[in-house]
Every structure is written in C-alpha cells, then in structure tokens.
Amino acid sequence: MATTRRARWTRALRTPVGLAASGFLAVVVLLVVLAPLVWGERAEVVDTGNLLQGSSAAHLFGTDSLGRDIGYRVLVATRLSVGMALLATVIGVGTGLLVGAAPVVLGRRTGRLVTGAVNVAVAFPALLLALFFATIFGVGARGAVLAVGLATAPSFARLTQTMVASVADRDFVSAARIAGVSRIRLLVRHVLPNIAEPLVVNATIGAGGALLAFSGLSFLGLGVQAPAYDWGRLLEEGLGRVYIHPEAAVAPAVALVVVGLAFNLVGETIAKGMSPRATVGRTAGAPHPPGPRTATGPRRLEPAGSTLLEVEDLHVAFPFAGGWATPVRGVSLAIRPGESVGMLGESGSGKSLTALAIARLLEAPASVRARRLTFQGTDLLTADPRTERELLGASFGMVFQDPMTSFNPTRPVGRQLAEVSQQHQGLTRGAAWARAVDRLREVRVPSAARRARQYPHEFSGGMLQRAMIGMGLMGAPALIVADEPTTALDTTVQREVLALLARIRAEEGLALLLISHDVTVVRDVCDRVLVMYAGRIVEELPTDRLGEARHPYTRALLDAVPDLETSRDRPLAVVPGRPVSPDALPAGCAFAARCPLATERCRTDDPVLADAGPGQRVACWQTGENLGLPAFPAATSRAATP
C-alpha cells in the first residue's frame, strides 16, 4: 500500500504540472522565509532624491512615494500576502469543517437547521460575504483575514457535509454506530479520516482563492494598513500612477497571478497524487488502416443490375490499446428494391456497426473501409458530402433501437419529423408540418395533429417507435434500415411495430434491412436472412429454408428458439460459450471455440463464404460432411451452461 502510494506521488510529481507545482512551491516557501530577512531593510530605505521614479538600473520596478524600491517591496511582501492567505484558509477550513460536521454530532433536528443555514449562506458570492464580515470586524489586516476566512467557510461547510453524508452511509460507519460508538468519536475516528484527502486538495486550491480575495480587500483599502504592505496594497499604490510608471503596478500583479496559480497547480498535483486511479495512457501511434485484407476475401455477389444497395468487403475498425480492433471484417451483401432482408446475430457480432457504416453514420475515430458501397447506383465511398446528404436524406430511412432516447427531448415530435421535409424536399414550415401529421397518421398514431405538438416524454415507447418509422417515411425512402427496432419495447407492442413495418414495406414497395438478435422476428418479416458472427456473414439463406441452415452457429440459434414442442422440463437451449472479442480473434474460424463439430482445420484456417445450394451460402468447413444431419447436436449442450 505504502509503495503504491509512493509510486503514485512520484508519478504525479514527474508530470509537467507536478514539476511546475513543486518548483513554484519551493520558490514561494523560500521567499516567505528569506525575503524579509534578506531584503527587509532595503525595502524600507527611504530615498528622498528618487521619489516616484520609473524603472532604472538601481530600481528595476521604480520607487514609491517615499523613494522605496518597489521590486524589493514586492519580494518582501510575499511573507505577509501568503501568510495572511494561509491564515484565512485555516480559519475558513476550520470553521467549515466544524459547521459541516456539526449535523453528525448535533442530531437530526439541529443538524437540519445547520444544513439549511449553510445552504442559504452558500448562495451568496464569497466577496459579498467578505465585505459583510469586513464591516463587522473593521478595516485592517485582522478584520480582513477573519472576513476572507469566514467568507470561504460556507463552501467548505457544504463540501464537508456532502462528503460526510457519503461516508456516513457506508457499512463501517453503520457498524460503528450500532456498536454504540459515541457521535464525536464516530466523527473523529471514522468519518474525518475518510474525508481528509479531498479536503486537503480543496484547501490548497482555496488558499489560492484566499490570496486573491485578501489582496482584493487590501487593494480596496480594507485590508493591510500602512506602514505594513502586501501585494494588494502595492498594486493599489501602483495603479494610482499607472499612466506614468506602469511597472509599479505590473510587479505586484504578476506576483499575485503567479502565486495564485501556483496554489492551484499544487492542489491539482496533490489531487493526482492522492487519487488511486492510474492515468489512462493515450493510444500510441498514428491511426493506420485496419488490419490486412483477409486472403479469404469474399468474391463478388450476383451481378449488380437491379440492386438497391451493394456492399463489398466492408471493414470497420476502432483504435484499441495502441492498435486497432476490427469488429466488422469483410461483410458483403446486396439488397434488391422492395426486398426484406434480416440480419441475425448475437450482441457484439457487428450487425449494428454494419448498419451504421452503410448509413455513413460512423465518425472518427472509427475507420470504415470497403471495396464497394453503392446505394441506388451512387458510389457512397467517393460521393461528395452534398450528394451523399441529398441521396441518403431523401431515400434512406433509419429506425433505431431505443425510441425513448432517439428523439430530442426538447423539441416537439412533429417538428422533428417536419424538419426532414423542410431540409430535403424544400417544403415550407407549414407544409412540412402537415406532412408530419399525415405521416404520423399513416403509422397509426392516434389524434396525430394533437400528438405532433407533444414532446417525446409524453409518448409511449411503442408510439414513439411508430413515429420514428413515420420519420423515415417523410421523404420517399427506397430502403429502411431498422436496427433492433423492437428490442426496447414491450412484447405486445413489438408485434404492432413489426406488423407496421411489414405493412409499410408492402404498401410503399420499399426495401427493408431488419437487424435483430431474434430469430422469430426475422422469420416473420424477412424474405432472406444474413447470419453474422464475429464481424463476418457466416451464412445466407432464404427465410423459408431456415430449416436447412448448415452453419453450426445458425443451427444453434434456431435450436435456441423455444416452440410448442420444446420440453418444459428441460432448461432452454442456449448457444454455449461466449462470443469472441473483436480485439482477440483466433487464427481460424471465429466460432471454432464454441462449435461442437470443430476440427483442427477449423482452428487454423478461416472458412470462406461459399455457395451451398439455391440462394444459400455458408462459411464453414464442416457443412459438407454434415449435410445429412437432421439436427444440430445442440442437445449435448443444453444442460452445459452454468
């Protein structure tokens, strides 16, 4: 423990901030101790021959009204300025600690009164409180120290209260309380040691504030009185003749700013040294293109011709631990106009990232790469931003997973629909609003005209999701990408939304890419299924031939769906094991570790997506040998999950 703490401090001190802070601290301490001893007498030497002089060789910052050297006076004033600030901080922290911890000792009712008083006091700026107390304690150094100290007390009291409250709820304090430990002992032994560290950090930063506040009072003539002098007073004297000799004001001002900041830096360093959290290292190196192209890159799909969307060899990579993680690795797919395609896979298989990459919604630091990405014949990889915006804005609709967070909470729902048409169809505000109401009606939102004026939090989840589908219909979409559109909804509402998607698709003749982890959802709505695993499409087949799926992963997914014949006595089937992490992909087939059929070849060679029947493609080495298998032997794993 001690060694780690020391290591933390060493690390904190070695940062640029830490070095600067300790350097400043050393200089300030030296000046506080030595300056009055070394230069104290010279700062008092009256030179009547050199009154109110400017900068010269003898007096770098000039002389004051008695001919005394301002440079020396600034150096000597360090002790009084810093000393008063520290004294004020001690008063402020001490009072704040007493008041803030009082509720623990005083018991409930009085404690609440104290808390209330602190809450009132904390609302007033410290400077106002300082003036208030300065009036009471009278003009002078003593009054100003008390004033600054008491003015900072409420914020320290509030800090103490907050921290005490968080500590007081912890188990060891409750245990001590039950054990009959007295309140005072509880406070001193159990609570205070646990809040000491943040208090020290804030006190150090507070000392910087106290220095500036105290100097402010001196500057106003309410603090240190002649013949004593601190930086605030020197600044005030210097400002009086700022036109003639500005350097007289510069010296104390610079001293104040530098030392005020030094306290802040020291506070930051202490905070870093105390915080057990290690500093998170930056990702090393410049971004480089995602990993090498797989030798097994999928071949071209069926001829483009009438395809609406065409994707070839899509990769998505993110910077990760100094290198790159690639959660989408060479996805190829094509969607024809009016077709309904499902994308099936566990969470983390890369489905949503694929959708976002196709929709061109991934931003840096994500890196998207593909051999081909066309929508309605336009190459999205090379299109200029304007073309892309116009094309996708008009013909590409997106439906996201969680409708409650996918609408802007500060704008009426209708407005959020209407702005699509205002932007992309050039409709006026009124016409766009009318279309929004019409679209809401189209997706069966009851009393659409009234609802359009409401805010998202006034809608139910299902209704919001329908509104989002309506938002996708504001233009003339050719494709709607729905990313888990029903996952965040109640089961009963799920069916409604799916039925709506199916109806809209049929009526408007648009294509649908439905992303889901739910086999039944995809089977109900889609013509064709793409099964994704670890960033790859591992199988593709028509929905009506799902029973002939060959990839062990697809079969496992299908087996995991309960139906009327599923025995209720046995645990539900699950796909055994966990999905692989995109930053730790194995050399061979990514599914090998979870696959009951895996052989040595599966662990070394990555299988390619290859034709396996009419409209069917599969990426698996074992399908050939297991063609005749009526059922995937998932039964063996049924009880195997922990």
Binding site: F132, A134, L212, P246, V257, P365, M398, F407, E419, Q423
Partner: protein
Amino acid sequence: MTTREAAVRSRRVTVSRSVVAESPWVRFAVRRSGRLLVSLWALLTAAFLMVHLVPGDPVRAALGAAAPNDLVEARRHTLGLDDPLWLQYAHYLRGLATGDLGTSMTSGLPVSQVIGDRLPATLELAGLAFVVAVLLAVPLGLGMAVLTRGGRRPRVELGFTTASVVVGAVPEFLVAVGLVLVLSVRLGWFPVAGSDGFASLVLPVAALATAPIAVLARIVRVEVLSVLDADFVRTARAKRLPARRIYLRHVLPNALTASITLGGLLLGALVAGTVLVENVFSWPGLGSTIVSSILSKDYPLVQAVVLVYGVAVLLVNLLVDVLLALLDPRSTIREA
C-alpha cells in the same frame, strides 16, 4: 408529527378539487417562493445584525473618538439605537417595507436616494458583462466541443483547457489592471477610468466578463461533448440535417442545463465582482459606494448596499431555477 400529517392531509383534501393545485407548476412556485422567503429573511436579519455586531459603538466609531459625548448620544437617539433590540428590529423591518432605508451618516442624504443614484450604473455594468460573457462563451464552448469531439485535435483541447483554467482563475481586479496597462496606457484606446460614454464601458465590462467567459466556455464544452454522444444526435445525423442545424437545434438546447446553473452562479459572482472593478475604474456605482462607506463607517449605507447586492443574488438564483424549469418541464415534476 401526527398533527402535521393530519394538517397536510386536510389541506390536500381541500385543494385536490382544484385542477390547478395539482399542476407541478403550482407546486414548484410554492416550493421555490418558500425558499426565496427563507433566504430573504436570513439576508435581512444578517444585514440588521451586522451593525449590532460591530464591536464598540458604531456611532462613536463613525463620528470619531474626538466627537463630544452629547453629539454621540443625540445621534444614537435619532438612529434609534437606544431602543431594545427587538424594537429596533421591528422598526428596521417596517422601514424596509415602506422603502425607508435610513439616513447616510456622512452625507445626511436618505440612503434610498443614494442607492437610486448609484444602482443603475452598477446594473449597467453587471448586465452588459453578463450578456457579453454568455454571447462569447456559448459559441466558444460549442465550437471547441465540435472541434475536439471524439478525442480529435488533442493539442487544441489541451491548449483550450489550460488557457481557460488559467484565465478563469485570475480575479477581475487583476484583469482590470492588466487591461488598463495594455489598452489604456500602452495603446491609449480607452479611457483609464470614469464613466463617459461607450468607450469608458469597454474595459470594465471586459474585466468583469473575462473570467466568466473562460469558466462558462469550459462547462459548455463538456456539456456539449456529452450530448454529442446521445442517441437523438445520431438520429438527427441520420436525417442528414446540416451540421449547423444539428448543433444549434438538437445539441445546444440539451446542453444548457448545467450551463444555466453555472451561469447563475457566475452572474451572482459578477454582481459582487463589480465592487472591485468599479474601484479600479472609478465607476460611479454601488461598488465604489460600499467601499467608501465601509471606510467611513457609514453603517446605514453599508447595510443597505449589502441588502441590495444580496437581493440581486437571490433574484438571479430564482431566475435560474425558473429558467431551468421552463427549459425542462420534467425537472419540476421529478423534484416534487
């Protein structure tokens, strides 16, 4: 406890008939004005006690040690300082209610008249500085957030954060001195002091606004960054709205909650900050008045100025809460 519960229940029965009473807005208004009244009472009482907490005799202190005893006695009598404390408190409250703030000990003028003469100049300064701070800090914070989102431009981010921490820590009177040194003395662009037209406003306003700009811009940036990650921003991008519209209509309104809270605190501090800045620039406002009256021990005047500043701070806090409630109607419901 039980009687209170019963009282609450009976009250609920009587008010539940009215639809208005069920509205979260009414609950909010009742709760918030209750808090305002408590704070106001604390302020009034503190200002009253301030004069009585001064060690020794405030009249003697104001008139000086050399003043004859009968003059001090007479002045004590006219100020009502002979009366028992509770009676003085009652007189004080009655005076406040009728707008009578007492008489200045040094000038002999009614305190309310002095305040009336001086307050507009201070309000002008504080109000203008606040408007300038908000108008500069919000676009600055938004712009920095957009530039540095998702870990982009780490050097810009480091530079901005460092600069805003440093600038935000420098108190307004030092900024004021710095501005005077550079812009008035060196370049001669603006007058060094006084209140004479627009040019004389520039430096005091800049001095007051500088630190709040830094602090507010930093908070706006952090807030905007967190909103940029929100789902609804992705939705707005999926709608292919132009970047400007996304940032101004979808991001900014959702990023302002914490910024408004902080803005209120800054405005409160800004009101108090006028004290120092007015003294640097010899600005004829309440700030120079309070300092001169503290120095001359003109207690009725000090008391009244403290009251005015305090009430200003309370009003700012009220304004912030109302604004927050208006921006996010859910917050008032949640709080209830």
